[in-house]
Symmetry: C2
Subunit: 350 residues, 2 copies
Amino acid sequence: MASDANASEERVLAAVEERRAIVNDAIDDYLPLAEPERLWEASRYLMLAGGKRLRPTVSLLAAEALLDVEPLSEPYTDFPTLSGDRIDILAAGMSIEVIQAFTLIHDDIMDDDALRRGVPAVHVEYGTDTAILAGDTLYSKAFEILTHTGSHAENGLRATRRLATTCTHICEGQALDVDFEGRTEVPPEEYLEMVESKTAVLFGAAAAIPPILLDADDEVVDALHQYAVEAGSAFQIQDDVLDLTVPSEKLGKQRGSDLVEDKETLITLHARQQGVDVDGLVDADDPETLTDAEVEAAVATLNEAGSIDYARTTARDLVAKSKSRLEVLPDNEARGLLGDIADYLITRGY
Amino acid sequence: MASDANASEERVLAAVEERRAIVNDAIDDYLPLAEPERLWEASRYLMLAGGKRLRPTVSLLAAEALLDVEPLSEPYTDFPTLSGDRIDILAAGMSIEVIQAFTLIHDDIMDDDALRRGVPAVHVEYGTDTAILAGDTLYSKAFEILTHTGSHAENGLRATRRLATTCTHICEGQALDVDFEGRTEVPPEEYLEMVESKTAVLFGAAAAIPPILLDADDEVVDALHQYAVEAGSAFQIQDDVLDLTVPSEKLGKQRGSDLVEDKETLITLHARQQGVDVDGLVDADDPETLTDAEVEAAVATLNEAGSIDYARTTARDLVAKSKSRLEVLPDNEARGLLGDIADYLITRGY
């Protein structure tokens, strides 16, 4: 079982790594450095700072699974569709990654997070005004990129609409998240709804837009959307677990910073239901003054209340549901990798 | 001549007023109040606070001129195209107005402008975080609206792409504007390029997107685009003139606030070239402490240097060029109104 899990994780990491390299190599093509240079530097900064590229990996694997082709056997920029022509499916994955970068830049301003991907956040590096503008630039650029896949216009228009509704949904999720900060008695279902809007729908679009562009039936589009929304929700819950359980160096930001920032997560909401004094878990009111000892003590309390286990179980159930959605696809290596990715999202260490 | 000008202005005001009413009545349809309520309230707040609706008016008149129909004789939500079917052209105008609202909300954060359309700016009323998010919400909503015109998919996709490239261009223009704040020796041509990017391209999209959706030739699309870019540049130059020459009550913000904020305009750049000590024109460093006497004295100095006249002449030349572009359209009442609007943009009092 453990060695199976290890083998699965190794396959995922290799698949992600291969596609990450392709995405990274293509950034200059889809997001070239233009004038005014400072704006474009700020816009590209987070894209170039790294990132796992999980969402474009999902996009590219979804395309390969759907077309039933051997992984990496067809060039992504000239990829076959179900109706027999060829399109640039890499553009779809790139547009999702660009939207992801935009949301991170604006979220970091709102949450005043100083670090992202191990480097200063864009508003710290370039100032808030330029960071707002860099996010806005990436926002339109993502739509621009998505209109250039070369797909049938009908599919291109549907894909663009899907990206737009997804972005509206993300904004609504972020607003819910901000509202939650003032509330301590949020039912877990409501929290999961927020997570779905804020994070999971972009995974959903990453998986649904390729089948739209590749001329798949609505049934397939919907199934892939659900696969990724459920896996994406599990991903976000796991992120909240990792914030408490992974050393700061590995996280790329201070461990336990969610607690300092009074961010409600599935873990804290469960703990409150169990009577834990969540607000008293840490004294620090700035991530920089938070000590590891304080975090350790908080984690021990949350473990005792069963709250971290509760989050893990919820994530695990979501992943099981998520994987069952893939049955709509032909049984092939890419589909297997999509299943492995769903597993990986909750077994990953950081 | 004066009575001709008055008659033209009256026609424009009536045409804008009629279309403004239609746009205002449709806000609830295209931008309904949804959950989370506070986000949607903040997103709709500026749209509901008023606005001249000049851009959608240009969109709707361009459609009527192109189809050679009597103004207001065809319903905008079920409007004929050149290829014989019918589409929702109001959606196109609305998407432009929604983009306009998004840019104003984010610009007001960056420029820290407290008043807009006579009411507190969104970030003053709802806080900066919600204002960033409200702008982001309107951004995607505009794309969503534009994908729902019912046009041929080919045209819908082209229109969406045009909106995306326009938004990127606007961000670049805003970045140039911010860069200019630190520079005092900007050649007027470079300034005009910034104005074109920051303001005029959205007028350009307002005029170009309807012919794209209505199946017009590229020649017509390009001519209407140029008409509106040139008129829009003149509009922005006139805005800078009005900031100095119109009483605060009429402006909806403090008269002369551009001078306090060290905003370079065609006027200040010309004045610098004439040796005027622009930085010494007013002492106040906050629009609220600026006195009318200070503004009067500054305006007298700028008038003596010929700088306000220079801006007016530049705007007038742009409008003449702009109007000549309309010859590509059939000669009809709507085309006449588009010409009148170009005139009005530089004769308007506020």
